[in-house]
Protein backbone atom coordinates (compact mmCIF):
# COMPACT_ATOMS: atom_id res chain seq x y z
CA UNK A 1 0.00 0.00 0.00
CA UNK A 2 2.89 2.22 0.83
CA UNK A 3 3.96 2.47 -2.74
CA UNK A 4 0.53 2.37 -4.22
CA UNK A 5 0.63 5.05 -6.92
CA UNK A 6 -3.05 5.61 -6.47
CA UNK A 7 -2.43 6.97 -3.13
CA UNK A 8 -1.51 10.48 -2.20
CA UNK A 9 1.05 11.14 0.51
CA UNK A 10 -0.67 13.04 3.29
CA UNK A 11 1.55 12.92 6.40
CA UNK A 12 5.23 12.22 6.63
CA UNK A 13 6.53 9.52 8.89
CA UNK A 14 7.78 11.98 11.47
CA UNK A 15 4.49 13.82 11.48
CA UNK A 16 2.69 10.57 12.10
CA UNK A 17 5.07 9.54 14.81
CA UNK A 18 4.64 12.91 16.44
CA UNK A 19 0.89 12.63 16.29
CA UNK A 20 0.85 9.25 17.88
CA UNK A 21 3.24 10.27 20.58
CA UNK A 22 0.94 13.12 21.40
CA UNK A 23 -1.98 10.73 21.30
CA UNK A 24 -0.25 8.28 23.58
CA UNK A 25 0.79 10.85 26.14
CA UNK A 26 -2.64 12.41 25.89
CA UNK A 27 -4.22 9.13 26.83
CA UNK A 28 -1.86 8.69 29.71
CA UNK A 29 -2.42 12.20 30.97
CA UNK A 30 -6.16 12.11 30.41
CA UNK A 31 -6.74 8.76 32.04
CA UNK A 32 -4.59 9.60 35.02
CA UNK A 33 -6.08 13.08 35.24
CA UNK A 34 -9.64 11.88 35.01
CA UNK A 35 -8.95 9.75 38.03
CA UNK A 36 -8.85 12.94 40.08
CA UNK A 37 -11.56 14.67 38.10
CA UNK A 38 -14.46 12.85 39.58
CA UNK A 39 -14.82 9.84 41.84
CA UNK A 40 -16.39 7.76 39.06
CA UNK A 41 -13.13 7.90 37.18
CA UNK A 42 -10.96 7.22 40.24
CA UNK A 43 -10.46 3.55 39.40
CA UNK A 44 -8.66 4.68 36.26
CA UNK A 45 -5.77 5.37 38.59
CA UNK A 46 -5.38 1.61 38.86
CA UNK A 47 -3.99 1.68 35.32
CA UNK A 48 -0.99 3.48 36.66
CA UNK A 49 -0.49 1.51 39.81
CA UNK A 50 -3.06 3.20 41.96
CA UNK A 51 -4.00 6.69 43.01
CA UNK A 52 -0.61 7.64 44.34
CA UNK A 53 1.21 6.61 41.19
CA UNK A 54 -1.40 8.32 39.08
CA UNK A 55 -0.81 11.50 41.09
CA UNK A 56 2.93 11.18 40.74
CA UNK A 57 2.89 10.36 37.02
CA UNK A 58 0.16 12.65 35.78
CA UNK A 59 2.24 15.84 35.79
CA UNK A 60 5.09 14.07 34.07
CA UNK A 61 2.69 12.88 31.38
CA UNK A 62 1.80 16.51 31.13
CA UNK A 63 5.42 17.43 30.60
CA UNK A 64 5.71 14.75 27.94
CA UNK A 65 2.63 15.85 26.10
CA UNK A 66 3.83 19.42 26.30
CA UNK A 67 7.04 18.37 24.62
CA UNK A 68 5.38 16.42 21.81
CA UNK A 69 2.54 18.81 21.34
CA UNK A 70 4.96 21.69 21.03
CA UNK A 71 6.70 19.86 18.25
CA UNK A 72 3.40 19.23 16.54
CA UNK A 73 2.44 22.80 17.03
CA UNK A 74 5.57 23.95 15.24
CA UNK A 75 4.91 21.57 12.38
CA UNK A 76 1.30 22.46 11.81
CA UNK A 77 0.85 26.02 12.92
CA UNK A 78 1.34 27.46 9.40
CA UNK A 79 -0.85 24.86 7.86
CA UNK A 80 -3.57 25.63 10.31
CA UNK A 81 -3.90 29.32 9.61
CA UNK A 82 -7.62 29.88 9.22
CA UNK A 83 -8.81 31.23 5.88
CA UNK A 84 -12.21 32.72 5.01
CA UNK A 85 -13.02 29.47 3.30
CA UNK A 86 -12.40 27.62 6.52
CA UNK A 87 -14.85 29.80 8.38
CA UNK A 88 -17.32 29.22 5.60
CA UNK A 89 -16.72 25.48 5.99
CA UNK A 90 -17.41 25.69 9.69
CA UNK A 91 -20.65 27.48 9.03
CA UNK A 92 -21.80 24.48 7.04
CA UNK A 93 -20.56 21.83 9.41
CA UNK A 94 -23.98 21.01 10.74
CA UNK A 95 -25.13 19.88 7.35
CA UNK A 96 -22.18 17.61 7.07
CA UNK A 97 -22.87 16.03 10.44
CA UNK A 98 -26.37 15.47 9.31
CA UNK A 99 -24.85 13.54 6.44
CA UNK A 100 -25.44 16.11 3.76
CA UNK A 101 -22.16 17.35 2.39
CA UNK A 102 -23.32 18.63 -0.91
CA UNK A 103 -22.91 22.28 -0.04
CA UNK A 104 -19.70 21.94 1.90
CA UNK A 105 -17.14 24.45 0.76
CA UNK A 106 -14.03 22.87 -0.57
CA UNK A 107 -11.38 22.30 2.03
CA UNK A 108 -7.65 22.21 1.64
CA UNK A 109 -5.27 19.74 3.21
CA UNK A 110 -7.02 20.42 6.46
CA UNK A 111 -10.57 21.56 6.79
CA UNK A 112 -11.83 24.31 9.06
CA UNK A 113 -12.84 21.88 11.74
CA UNK A 114 -9.45 20.32 11.90
CA UNK A 115 -7.80 23.70 12.04
CA UNK A 116 -10.12 24.92 14.75
CA UNK A 117 -9.45 21.75 16.70
CA UNK A 118 -5.76 22.42 16.40
CA UNK A 119 -6.08 25.90 17.85
CA UNK A 120 -8.45 24.83 20.59
CA UNK A 121 -6.14 22.04 21.60
CA UNK A 122 -3.24 24.43 21.62
CA UNK A 123 -5.17 26.80 23.85
CA UNK A 124 -6.11 23.95 26.20
CA UNK A 125 -2.54 22.83 26.30
CA UNK A 126 -1.35 26.30 27.23
CA UNK A 127 -3.93 26.56 30.00
CA UNK A 128 -3.23 23.08 31.24
CA UNK A 129 0.48 23.60 31.36
CA UNK A 130 0.30 26.93 33.09
CA UNK A 131 -2.31 25.89 35.61
CA UNK A 132 -0.67 22.51 36.00
CA UNK A 133 2.54 24.09 37.14
CA UNK A 134 0.66 26.09 39.76
CA UNK A 135 -1.08 23.06 41.19
CA UNK A 136 1.93 20.73 41.03
CA UNK A 137 2.21 20.35 44.81
CA UNK A 138 5.38 18.42 44.89
CA UNK A 139 7.48 21.12 43.31
CA UNK A 140 5.79 24.38 42.53
CA UNK A 141 2.66 25.04 44.55
CA UNK A 142 4.48 26.44 47.56
CA UNK A 143 5.61 29.29 45.29
CA UNK A 144 2.07 30.48 44.64
CA UNK A 145 -0.63 32.03 46.77
CA UNK A 146 -3.52 29.82 47.72
CA UNK A 147 -6.03 31.95 45.78
CA UNK A 148 -4.11 31.44 42.57
CA UNK A 149 -3.83 27.74 43.24
CA UNK A 150 -7.57 27.57 43.66
CA UNK A 151 -8.10 29.41 40.40
CA UNK A 152 -5.56 27.23 38.63
CA UNK A 153 -7.30 24.12 39.88
CA UNK A 154 -10.50 25.22 38.20
CA UNK A 155 -8.75 26.22 35.02
CA UNK A 156 -6.94 22.91 34.92
CA UNK A 157 -10.06 20.91 35.43
CA UNK A 158 -12.07 22.91 32.93
CA UNK A 159 -9.37 22.91 30.27
CA UNK A 160 -8.71 19.25 30.86
CA UNK A 161 -12.26 18.13 30.47
CA UNK A 162 -12.73 20.38 27.47
CA UNK A 163 -9.68 18.91 25.88
CA UNK A 164 -10.92 15.42 26.56
CA UNK A 165 -14.15 16.43 24.90
CA UNK A 166 -12.29 17.76 21.90
CA UNK A 167 -10.30 14.61 21.55
CA UNK A 168 -13.47 12.56 21.94
CA UNK A 169 -14.83 14.48 19.01
CA UNK A 170 -11.63 14.17 17.09
CA UNK A 171 -11.57 10.43 17.55
CA UNK A 172 -15.18 9.99 16.66
CA UNK A 173 -14.89 12.05 13.52
CA UNK A 174 -11.83 10.05 12.62
CA UNK A 175 -13.78 6.86 13.03
CA UNK A 176 -16.88 8.19 11.40
CA UNK A 177 -14.96 9.53 8.45
CA UNK A 178 -13.88 6.23 7.01
CA UNK A 179 -10.28 5.82 6.00
CA UNK A 180 -9.10 8.99 7.64
CA UNK A 181 -7.22 6.90 10.17
CA UNK A 182 -5.24 5.47 7.27
CA UNK A 183 -3.81 8.92 6.78
CA UNK A 184 -2.28 8.91 10.23
CA UNK A 185 -1.27 5.28 10.08
CA UNK A 186 0.11 4.85 6.60
CA UNK A 187 0.64 8.46 5.71
CA UNK A 188 -1.14 8.03 2.38
CA UNK A 189 -4.75 8.27 1.33
CA UNK A 190 -6.69 7.10 -1.64
CA UNK A 191 -7.19 9.70 -4.27
CA UNK A 192 -10.96 9.25 -4.10
CA UNK A 193 -10.86 9.89 -0.39
CA UNK A 194 -8.83 12.97 -0.92
CA UNK A 195 -11.12 14.27 -3.59
CA UNK A 196 -14.13 13.68 -1.42
CA UNK A 197 -12.86 15.14 1.79
CA UNK A 198 -10.18 17.58 0.80
CA UNK A 199 -10.92 18.56 -2.79
CA UNK A 200 -8.74 21.62 -2.81
CA UNK A 201 -5.79 19.67 -1.51
CA UNK A 202 -6.54 16.91 -4.03
CA UNK A 203 -6.29 19.34 -6.85
CA UNK A 204 -3.15 20.81 -5.49
CA UNK A 205 -1.60 17.39 -5.26
CA UNK A 206 -2.72 16.05 -8.61
CA UNK A 207 -2.79 19.21 -10.64
CA UNK A 208 -6.26 18.29 -11.76
CA UNK A 209 -8.70 21.06 -11.85
CA UNK A 210 -11.84 19.08 -11.94
Amino acid sequence: MKNDPDRLPRYTASERANHWLVALTFFLAALSGLAFFHPVFYPLGQLFGGGVWARILHPFFGVAILFFFSSMYLRFRKLCVMTPADWDWLRHVREMIRGDDRDMPESGKLNGGQKLLFWLLAACMALLVLSGIVIWRAYFSPLFPEGLIRFAAIVHAAAGVFMVGLIFGHIYIAIWTRESIDAMIYGKVRRAWAKQHHPAWFREMTGENK
Partner: protein
Protein backbone atom coordinates in the same frame (compact mmCIF):
# COMPACT_ATOMS: atom_id res chain seq x y z
CA UNK B 1 -37.73 10.68 48.67
CA UNK B 2 -37.00 14.09 47.36
CA UNK B 3 -34.13 14.27 44.96
CA UNK B 4 -32.74 17.63 44.08
CA UNK B 5 -31.63 18.37 40.62
CA UNK B 6 -28.04 18.36 41.73
CA UNK B 7 -28.34 15.01 43.42
CA UNK B 8 -30.01 13.64 40.38
CA UNK B 9 -27.16 14.78 38.23
CA UNK B 10 -24.65 13.32 40.61
CA UNK B 11 -26.42 10.06 40.79
CA UNK B 12 -26.82 9.72 37.06
CA UNK B 13 -23.24 10.67 36.41
CA UNK B 14 -22.02 8.32 39.04
CA UNK B 15 -24.16 5.53 37.81
CA UNK B 16 -23.08 6.00 34.28
CA UNK B 17 -19.46 6.38 35.13
CA UNK B 18 -19.16 3.51 37.46
CA UNK B 19 -21.10 1.13 35.30
CA UNK B 20 -18.96 1.92 32.31
CA UNK B 21 -15.80 1.56 34.34
CA UNK B 22 -16.95 -1.65 35.90
CA UNK B 23 -17.30 -2.81 32.38
CA UNK B 24 -13.66 -2.01 31.88
CA UNK B 25 -12.84 -4.46 34.60
CA UNK B 26 -12.09 -2.19 37.49
CA UNK B 27 -13.62 -2.47 40.82
CA UNK B 28 -12.40 -0.17 43.52
CA UNK B 29 -11.59 -1.82 46.78
CA UNK B 30 -13.88 -0.21 49.29
CA UNK B 31 -11.80 2.42 51.03
CA UNK B 32 -11.86 1.46 54.65
CA UNK B 33 -11.54 4.08 57.30
CA UNK B 34 -10.51 3.86 60.88
CA UNK B 35 -9.07 5.98 63.61
CA UNK B 36 -5.55 5.24 64.74
CA UNK B 37 -5.47 2.36 67.17
CA UNK B 38 -5.63 3.58 70.74
CA UNK B 39 -2.09 3.24 71.92
CA UNK B 40 -2.69 3.02 75.64
CA UNK B 41 -4.99 0.04 75.53
CA UNK B 42 -2.73 -2.36 77.44
CA UNK B 43 0.09 -0.20 78.73
CA UNK B 44 1.20 -0.26 82.35
CA UNK B 45 0.32 2.89 84.24
CA UNK B 46 2.56 4.30 86.94
CA UNK B 47 1.84 7.30 89.13
CA UNK B 48 4.57 9.87 89.31
CA UNK B 49 5.24 13.56 89.94
CA UNK B 50 6.61 16.02 87.43
CA UNK B 51 10.26 16.73 88.28
CA UNK B 52 10.35 20.25 86.90
CA UNK B 53 8.77 23.10 88.83
CA UNK B 54 7.31 23.14 92.29
CA UNK B 55 3.71 22.82 91.23
CA UNK B 56 4.55 19.10 91.27
CA UNK B 57 1.87 18.02 88.87
CA UNK B 58 0.66 14.47 89.06
CA UNK B 59 1.66 12.28 86.15
CA UNK B 60 0.58 8.99 84.72
CA UNK B 61 3.42 7.30 82.93
CA UNK B 62 2.56 4.65 80.38
CA UNK B 63 5.10 1.90 79.92
CA UNK B 64 5.37 -0.80 77.31
CA UNK B 65 4.80 -4.16 78.81
CA UNK B 66 2.80 -5.58 81.68
CA UNK B 67 5.59 -6.09 84.22
CA UNK B 68 6.08 -9.64 83.01
CA UNK B 69 9.43 -11.09 83.88
CA UNK B 70 10.77 -11.17 80.37
CA UNK B 71 9.76 -7.68 79.38
CA UNK B 72 11.87 -4.62 79.93
CA UNK B 73 9.54 -1.74 80.70
CA UNK B 74 10.01 1.42 78.69
CA UNK B 75 8.01 4.59 79.14
CA UNK B 76 6.45 5.72 75.90
CA UNK B 77 3.85 8.22 76.97
CA UNK B 78 3.30 10.55 79.90
CA UNK B 79 0.20 12.55 80.58
CA UNK B 80 -1.34 14.40 83.49
CA UNK B 81 -3.02 12.60 86.37
CA UNK B 82 -6.66 13.70 86.30
CA UNK B 83 -7.13 12.80 89.96
CA UNK B 84 -4.39 15.14 91.08
CA UNK B 85 -5.96 18.11 92.89
CA UNK B 86 -3.53 20.71 91.58
CA UNK B 87 -3.04 19.93 87.93
CA UNK B 88 -6.23 17.89 87.40
CA UNK B 89 -4.73 16.17 84.38
CA UNK B 90 -3.14 19.21 82.81
CA UNK B 91 0.52 19.59 82.04
CA UNK B 92 2.55 22.57 80.89
CA UNK B 93 4.71 22.52 77.74
CA UNK B 94 7.65 21.19 79.70
CA UNK B 95 5.70 18.50 81.49
CA UNK B 96 3.86 17.47 78.36
CA UNK B 97 7.25 16.70 76.78
CA UNK B 98 8.63 14.67 79.67
CA UNK B 99 8.83 11.50 77.65
CA UNK B 100 11.61 13.13 75.64
CA UNK B 101 13.40 14.01 78.85
CA UNK B 102 13.32 10.40 79.97
CA UNK B 103 14.69 9.36 76.60
CA UNK B 104 16.98 12.31 76.01
CA UNK B 105 20.03 11.42 73.92
CA UNK B 106 22.03 13.26 76.57
CA UNK B 107 21.12 10.87 79.39
CA UNK B 108 24.25 9.49 81.01
CA UNK B 109 24.50 5.74 80.93
CA UNK B 110 27.87 4.80 82.42
CA UNK B 111 30.29 6.15 84.98
CA UNK B 112 32.95 8.16 83.18
CA UNK B 113 36.34 9.54 84.03
CA UNK B 114 38.19 12.52 82.67
CA UNK B 115 41.86 12.54 83.60
CA UNK B 116 43.60 15.85 84.34
CA UNK B 117 44.45 17.60 81.07
CA UNK B 118 42.58 15.09 78.99
CA UNK B 119 40.08 16.10 76.36
CA UNK B 120 37.94 13.01 76.49
CA UNK B 121 35.81 10.83 78.70
CA UNK B 122 36.77 7.27 79.54
CA UNK B 123 34.16 4.75 80.57
CA UNK B 124 34.91 3.15 83.93
CA UNK B 125 33.15 0.71 86.22
CA UNK B 126 31.02 1.77 89.17
CA UNK B 127 33.46 0.24 91.57
CA UNK B 128 36.40 2.12 90.10
CA UNK B 129 34.43 5.34 90.11
CA UNK B 130 33.07 5.14 93.65
CA UNK B 131 36.36 3.91 95.10
CA UNK B 132 38.16 6.79 93.46
CA UNK B 133 35.64 9.31 94.78
CA UNK B 134 35.88 7.89 98.30
CA UNK B 135 39.67 7.95 98.14
CA UNK B 136 39.77 11.54 96.87
CA UNK B 137 37.41 12.64 99.60
CA UNK B 138 39.31 10.89 102.33
CA UNK B 139 42.62 12.18 101.10
CA UNK B 140 41.36 15.76 101.10
CA UNK B 141 39.53 15.39 104.41
CA UNK B 142 42.48 13.90 106.22
CA UNK B 143 44.75 16.66 104.97
CA UNK B 144 42.45 19.60 105.62
CA UNK B 145 40.12 18.65 108.47
CA UNK B 146 39.96 21.32 111.17
CA UNK B 147 39.32 19.81 114.57
CA UNK B 148 39.87 22.98 116.56
CA UNK B 149 39.85 26.63 115.58
CA UNK B 150 42.42 29.24 116.54
CA UNK B 151 40.58 29.87 119.77
CA UNK B 152 40.86 26.21 120.66
CA UNK B 153 37.15 25.46 120.36
CA UNK B 154 36.11 22.15 118.85
CA UNK B 155 34.81 22.86 115.37
CA UNK B 156 35.29 19.54 113.55
CA UNK B 157 34.81 20.99 110.12
CA UNK B 158 35.96 20.19 106.62
CA UNK B 159 35.82 23.15 104.26
CA UNK B 160 37.98 22.16 101.31
CA UNK B 161 35.42 19.96 99.63
CA UNK B 162 31.87 21.12 98.98
CA UNK B 163 28.71 19.38 98.04
CA UNK B 164 25.92 20.78 95.89
CA UNK B 165 22.72 18.90 96.37
CA UNK B 166 20.14 18.42 93.71
CA UNK B 167 16.91 20.28 93.33
CA UNK B 168 14.68 17.58 91.98
CA UNK B 169 15.90 14.54 93.82
CA UNK B 170 13.50 12.95 96.23
CA UNK B 171 13.20 13.76 99.92
CA UNK B 172 14.63 10.32 100.59
CA UNK B 173 17.71 11.04 98.52
CA UNK B 174 18.01 14.44 100.15
CA UNK B 175 17.75 12.96 103.60
CA UNK B 176 20.42 10.35 102.92
CA UNK B 177 22.63 12.94 101.25
CA UNK B 178 22.39 15.27 104.22
CA UNK B 179 23.16 12.45 106.60
CA UNK B 180 26.25 11.39 104.69
CA UNK B 181 27.53 14.90 104.00
CA UNK B 182 27.21 16.13 107.59
CA UNK B 183 28.82 12.99 108.98
CA UNK B 184 31.99 14.00 107.19
CA UNK B 185 31.94 17.46 108.78
CA UNK B 186 31.50 19.18 105.44
CA UNK B 187 30.19 22.75 105.63
CA UNK B 188 30.18 23.71 101.97
CA UNK B 189 26.70 22.40 101.31
CA UNK B 190 24.04 24.08 99.24
CA UNK B 191 21.13 23.37 96.99
CA UNK B 192 19.32 25.25 94.30
CA UNK B 193 16.95 27.11 96.63
CA UNK B 194 18.72 30.29 95.57
CA UNK B 195 18.73 29.80 91.84
Amino acid sequence: MKVTRRQFLKISAAGLGSSSIAALGFSAAEAQSDVRAFKLARSTETINTCPYCSVSCGLIMHSMGDKAKNNQMSIFHIEGDPDHPVNRGTLCPKGAGLVDFVHSPDRLKYPEYRAPGSSEWKRISWDEALSRVAWLMKDDRDKNFIARNAAGATVNRWTTTSFLAASASSNETGWLTHKVVRSTGMLGFDNQARV
